[in-house]
Assembly symmetry: D2
Homo-oligomer: 367 residues x 4
């Protein structure tokens, strides 16, 4: 028995296993009247699709999404939207090793300890394939946001692979779509290519950092104390496979700052809205959006399915060596970029909807 | 309208403002038959209490907790436990500046933008005083855990203040209670004292990193995909005032590791339970506890109420300078240690209860 | 471990036992800016207060409500509102019989079976005193509704005591406040007085039917399929102590009607809103309000604490006779009227808030 | 935006419209290790299937259920189970009238008022076809209950069609499967046949009462105050299409009883469990099961799609007459029997799971 739903009013329940007949998402709470079709969702799924270049798994999956409900004559009706992605690449193979041995660093052992039964084919429910359903749901969230608040832009990119970080001085929004790593720094992208080539050849893998920014999000989103915007973002990102750390704005580095340095000073902008001298806060104060860019960062650990020999045990408790053959990502963090974007879109929409339900007529104006 | 409850089955709703008549927590879902009294909760509250040394705010609050319901003849009954802490230090003072001007880095402006009304006295609902209620609720969680699973130990400590980190080689569990910073490293504690003296005199503040460890937590806790143990821990810690980053195990540093390095190799222990060569995972794989120590770390930003002059605006939108007088913490992170422990206790209990409801008879055995 | 909260966005958690220090409600989700004070809530509590006439229990409780949080300068702030009612009538008495024997028809035995511990004083958590907290919370809901949608009126009254029903032909709104039974039929009120006098003298009790109407509720409230307005109303009313049946509109009698008779025919009113020829539906179609009066009815069983001797068993399983002395209501249904009103107010507010979060700009207009 | 999920730990989300590509249920929280296959679910769906006799709609739907996830090697894995039923009978027809005119007594008008868009084909989301998904989910619940607590039996039957009630003196469990009405009274079944023949010929419809009993449910289920077993059952049954009243045990008739009559006296049974002299309570005291049979009853209004001419309005607000041609049930209550059983199964399982999570070691024993 588990809990497979996220969101307060925009509620996404994902379902399905890596090698079952299909996987998908049940999306409840999308407002009525949003113009939508399968192609709009496919656009985002295609960005996440494996096998697009040599830096991601060579598994071939079309990841074609179908909308089974919740639409009428090209618009959402306000009823649940069922998204289904059929698994086509279910080729029979020998999973014997993984069925009996636990991969170090993998959920193999804990799923077994929790449930006493486990679909070991391709990781079953713990497979990162589950994130395809999130990306599709995120596509719905994007269209719904567009219908509610024009001008919101959500963008993810990589800032680090292994020890190699981007140089913020070279940050270029237009670079992001120009390289296989969604890197805003072309030089870093080149270094990463070389670095990953070496790792891939040696059968190893590595971690990464992804940053997601949402621009144009209005002030006032977030429900303190326990539905804070940053609380929900932290949960959303930490729920992504292999994520081990989440940061808002300055993140862990906030420990190093003084109060004087950390204060984002406030001024009035020409449009009568507050503007800030800096964005250490990542756009969130007291759990509520300030109108600045929302900035979230998360670290993805290296995939545990590697060609290196490691020590482990079997289900019967005997010592064993394990080496995982197959079509795995040398840096699974790359494919986490569209997933992080999708989670951001879902959280922002959810709080837009909550905010509509929350605010009195007397919402605070400044000036 | 906001959401002030956390937890799935062990549900804690906090209420109250910094300078209202009282604050507290409504605790629903505590199992019946847990032996409990006010002194057990007071023990933890006293650790968080302000004014205990010169490194925390000099506000004097006894923070005396009362249990108003849910108990009979010294045991919990399974009905809601109401905890109330009366605010005694409500001395009348001039809040004029804060009522009109927004402190940079503070929730002043976003609460105003969201609600259009705000109890500005001492921060109102956004005050860190709210965390007293969490600490009291955490005390209940500790006793309930004890009744369910003997031997669980939850401990928090500081690992960094400003740029000064502890040296892991000097880590000493017994040091933690011996200094005003809950530092496991006596040398670091000495450095921090000197550093904070300087900051306090200059009216500045600084951030910090807190680490919380839970030992003896059984394998199998956590509800993938969206009620993962790490997801819930991330949300719990990020919901604490001023927290900007949360890490599990290696945290952000996971980006730098290779798959080979990150793999915690598995062996059989003498007691027939799996043991691991390392704990990069922080005790959680695929969102489920492995039986290793749970390790969570979070960064607390510097308090925004400082004696330094900063630029800001007023409610009417005019430019202004602000300087916040009062009894504030130079490093609010210190008092976050017992809060982090309390959140850990609540999350662990919650998942212990969920797990009891979740597992079939055929739970996976190893060996 | 139990669940003591109701509502989706307007969330009320009640807490407290009959003879503990206090009881109350934690109200989360009230919009900011609602003008409120304790006297507004006391008004409704006074209607429910015991000991007002010889037809209700003679227990003397002032039921004075205090607001501990969530208010600033006479308005709600959008943060949780804590309501506390201290128990003053905790006179020491001999509960020995009830501590050991189970009253037939009472929750004594099932609380014991579920929790293994039970505050038997005055029924503990299962006491109807818990409904005082609901009435106070309902008072907040009434003020919030007023702030959101002017003109909503919520009114409860009795339609049956024992076998004696009101005559709908004599229905008079102005009568309701004129007699101790909230009867809209003065003749029935007279019959009930005579009937209850006899019951009270013989130490017996009897059931009743309460009807609650909400007028002026806009069309479009209700969240199909499982948050339907009638679903939530059914749950709200069934959660009241001693309620055994709930009806919407025609209720159980709907079984007897043909489709032709049951159809509430639709016409256009002079104000451009639909009007209906009848209201068999009780104002709800497909779980969504139609704009007609919401009509809910519920049956309250007779109190099980009576002066009649009944057969039962003790905790140790031995056969025993029981007779319950004390200050009990001959018809507890009478005091359920303000409780039913409060639940209606909470549900209507909750769905008003949900609806604000739910609807797109293209909400359906007619004409 | 709507809410399409029910249950606390066993959570069922239904999705789909009458004439979309498919409908189904996402079932989250089923324990791992339950033996299950599609045939087990199909058994219950076949009971609900339309077109089986002349008393139900002649629409031909195979209602073939597919399991898309959550299973491995014949057992549930504890991950979400996706159930899909493809709509095969989507024949193109003229819905013009229903698209423009609102059927009196139908959700047509309120869906329009709420959402501003509506899939009018066959009722869209408001169609009773949605209940097929519930019946399939109920089949899972039955198997899970079986795995947790042997000997629970859940059975529904009709007790009234129009003004014609069964005679309790003729109640025969074995009759229930012997007639097209699930009547426990063969004589009543005969009367109903004649009565419905007349109604069908005249193009009219009629209401009904369904009773559902659960035997063998252990004492202690139910979560007071707002997750009471009867509260959840009332919500579950009221959420079924066309239900207007719900009763537990004596139901509305409880109003007529005295406390003396209503008390189910308690004795010790030969097996050391309490036994009761009667079951006015319907197996629930204070919201908690007593171990007696759970007895729930609900009234289903007549279908509003009839061949009789009624007055209505169009979307543009002009007066119109309406007559609904098509393949409709003269007594939709008949097909509600398996739906009521399914809801009972889901609620019982949900509370079995909650109870496992709730109870301390010291659960109350008697004797």
């Amino acid at each position: 028995m588990s809990m497979n739903t996220f969101g307060h009013l925009f509620r996404v329940t994902t379902w399905g296993e890596s090698h079952g007949p299909a996987l998908g998402a049940t999306v409840d709470g999308c407002p009525p009247g949003v113009v939508l079709d399968e192609a709009m969702l496919q656009h985002w799924l295609d960005r996440r699709k494996p096998g697009q270049n040599k830096y991601t798994t060579q598994r071939q999956e079309p990841d074609q999404v179908k909308i089974l409900s919740g639409m009428f004559e090209g618009q959402t009706t306000g009823t649940p939207i069922q998204l289904m992605i059929e698994n086509t690449d279910q080729r029979s193979k020998d999973y014997g090793d993984i069925a009996e041995k636990f991969r170090p660093g993998h959920a193999d052992i804990t799923y077994w300890q929790k449930y006493g039964i486990r679909d070991y084919r391709g990781g079953g429910r713990s497979s990162a394939r589950e994130t395809a359903a999130r990306v599709a749901a995120g596509g719905i969230a994007r269209e719904a946001i567009k219908a509610l608040v024009p001008g919101v832009e959500i963008k993810g990119y990589m800032t680090q692979i292994g020890p190699h970080k981007i140089d913020r001085a070279r940050f270029d929004w237009d670079q992001i779509e120009q390289n296989p790593f969604w890197s805003p720094d072309a030089t870093a992208a080149g270094e990463w290519a070389t670095y990953l080539d070496g790792l891939r050849k040696s059968g190893n893998s590595v971690g990464a950092v992804v940053e997601v920014v949402a621009r144009g999000v209005p002030a006032g989103l977030g429900a303190p104390i326990y539905g804070k915007l940053d609380t929900d973002l932290a949960a959303a990102m930490m729920s992504i496979n292999a994520v081990k750390g989440v940061e808002i704005g300055e993140g862990m580095n906030a420990a190093c700052l003084t109060g004087e340095d950390n204060a984002d000073e406030i001024f009035m902008g020409n449009d009568g809205q507050p503007v800030y001298s800096s964005n250490h806060a990542g756009g969130i104060l007291g759990g509520i959006s300030s109108g600045q860019d929302l900035v979230v960062r998360f670290a993805v650990k290296p995939t545990s399915s590697i060609l290196k020999t490691r020590q482990t045990i079997t289900k019967s408790g005997t010592a064993a060596e394990i080496i995982t053959k197959g079509r795995h990502d040398p840096c699974v963090g790359i494919r986490a970029v569209p997933v992080g974007e999708a989670m951001m879109a879902c959280v922002v929409l959810d709080h837009l909807l909550l905010h509509r339900g929350q605010i009195g007529a007397n919402r605070g104006k400044i000036g």
